[in-house]
């Protein structure tokens, strides 16, 4: 193998192989130590079963590329994932679907004589509107007498964030970013309300498991040989019905029903929609990032168009509603993600390289920043110059709305504070943006003081 090929910074836990980037594509190297399990995956019919249902990412074996040959190892080229998202950017239903996919893959594996040895949500990505398992090396030959090696991991990595959203608050799943290896059950237990232990499943999977501290028991080998396939199906089916019944706790979040409740609603939205479509019709693009997407109204204008849209919002309820619509309507080109734009996902993990930042992952030819800048500039005190630099690094075209101080919403933002935003005027706005962008089109949204701009990066 060419010596310049280095493993991906996040690919170091599994000793059976690793991911690497070569000519702008991600490949997976499978060591000889795993080939027996790999052959079993491919020949048992499990690979076909999982890829047919789009449960597992499909791949092709690379055999004739001299740059990618290495003694004893096998190189595969998986289908490429356009945009990587991390679990702490998912909404409740995305977590739930990812958890159910993991359990269903475990069940399907047993039926073909294999088992899933990992249960981490980092092995799942959302591709074409659905969760897909991306780790081809997570399968091993099944030993009926052994319990599920990934059970505790499943509880800490999937159940814990789901239970926090079910019992506490939908926004609490974000703490997974602080515990990417799984939220310890001791911590989960301390956050759950007392009533949680009265649910049999919650009691067994969380409270009892936390009480049975691993360190206190040394006879695991004895326990490990008391299992059976029937017991495994009881465990997995039990977890499936438990996860299916979980619901996000109803918390009113800031942007719930924004368009439905706002007094500006109908006429403003219709007029803005017309302008957005008219402006974007003048340029050619294939990728778009909708920042502050709310319920995805503007992203949905481009559903099933062949354009790849990333809809970003900090509000967990809005993104959940959007994901449910995408799932129900089988929309394949919109990816919803939760991110607080003034404090986006940082780079985390080993050496701060394991999981990259929002800034490093999210790019598009067109950036939509509709009714967003006033929140960043006034509610978060971010200077216009910072906002311009941030937006200019993300895309080529910018569709941005300026909401002036005469607007009701900006008056609300300023009502209980001193107006220190002297540069927040039409002139100041255009001057700041003109440093990085050229204004292509601009038009006032009828019935309001707001102005929509289409800009191109200089």
């Amino acid at each position: 193998m060419a010596s310049d090929i280095a493993r991906h910074p996040s690919s170091f836990k599994d000793s059976n192989g690793f991911i690497f980037k070569h000519n702008e594509k991600y490949y997976r190297c499978i060591h000889a130590s795993y080939l027996e399990h790999y052959q079993s995956l491919m020949q048992s019919g499990l690979y076909d079963r999982l890829t047919t249902g789009s449960w597992l990412i499909p791949h092709e074996e690379i055999k004739d590329d001299p740059e990618l040959s290495y003694a004893g190892d096998l190189i595969i080229l998986p289908q490429q994932v356009p945009v990587i998202t991390y679990p702490y950017e998912w909404s409740f239903a995305m977590w739930q679907d990812a958890a159910l996919l993991t359990l269903n893959i475990a069940k399907a594996s047993i039926e073909k004589g294999m088992m899933l040895k990992d249960a981490t949500p980092f092995n799942i990505q959302f591709v074409e509107g659905k969760p897909v398992f991306i780790d081809t090396l997570s399968f091993e030959k099944y030993n009926e007498q052994k319990p599920w090696i990934a059970y505790r991991q499943f509880c800490e990595c999937f159940l814990a964030p789901l239970l926090l959203q079910h019992y506490c608050h939908v926004e609490t799943a974000k703490i997974f970013a602080s515990y990417p290896g799984g939220i310890p059950l001791e911590i989960l237990k301390s956050l759950l309300p007392g009533k949680a232990k009265w649910n049999l499943h919650t009691y067994l999977h969380v409270y009892l498991q936390a009480a049975m501290k691993a360190g206190k028991r040394k006879d695991h080998a004895k326990d490990a040989n008391r299992f059976s396939k029937a017991k495994m199906f009881l465990l997995l089916n039990g977890l499936i019905s438990y996860v299916e019944k979980l619901k996000p706790r109803k918390n009113k979040t800031t942007w719930d029903d924004y368009y439905a409740a706002t007094i500006l609603s109908t006429q403003y939205l219709q007029e803005k929609t017309r302008l957005v479509q008219a402006f974007l019709a003048t340029i050619s693009f294939t990728t778009m990032v909708d920042l502050g997407a709310n319920d995805g109204h503007f992203s949905m204008l481009y559903k099933n168009t062949g354009k790849q849209v990333i809809a970003v919002d900090g509000d967990a309820n809005c993104i959940n509603e959007l994901y449910l619509q995408i799932r129900q309507q089988k929309i394949s080109n919109i990816l919803p993600i939760i991110n607080t734009l003034h404090a986006p996902s940082p780079a985390i993990g080993w050496n701060n390289e394991e999981r990259t930042s929002f800034h490093d992952r999210v790019r598009g030819e067109v950036i939509l920043a509709l009714a967003l800048v006033h929140h960043l500039a006034i509610a978060c005190n971010i200077p216009l110059e910072f906002i311009v630099n941030w937006l200019s690094a993300m895309g080529k075209y910018l569709l941005v709305e300026f909401v002036p101080k005469t607007d009701e919403k900006v008056k609300l933002l300023l009502q209980n504070r001193e107006d220190i935003f002297m540069a927040y005027t039409f002139e100041g706005f255009e001057q700041a943006f003109s440093k990085k962008f050229r204004i292509m089109l601009q038009e006032k949204i009828t019935g309001t003081d707001r102005v929509l701009y289409l800009m191109q990066i200089k």
């Binding site: 090696i149 067994l204 498991q209 691993a214 360190g215 028991r217 490990a224 017991k231």
Partner: protein, 62 residues
């Protein structure tokens, strides 16, 4: 809080628990099925007969 589990394999310690959970769920399933059987003794099987009748009609149509 003591992070004793940091030194252990992620799966260890949960082995006995899985035996307990599977046994508990197996017991619940047993009683659930038992209850369904008990109920079926007291409840007439008319709905099922009607269903069979419908199925037969469907097959005849095919």
């Amino acid at each position: 809080m003591k992070y004793t589990f940091l030194y252990l394999d992620p799966g260890s310690g949960s082995y006995l628990l899985q035996v307990i959970i599977a046994t508990a769920l197996g017991g619940l399933m047993f009683f659930k099925n038992f209850w369904i059987k008990v109920k079926s003794i007291f409840i007439k099987q008319k709905p099922q007969e009607e269903l069979k009748e419908d199925e037969r009609q469907e097959q005849e149509q095919l």
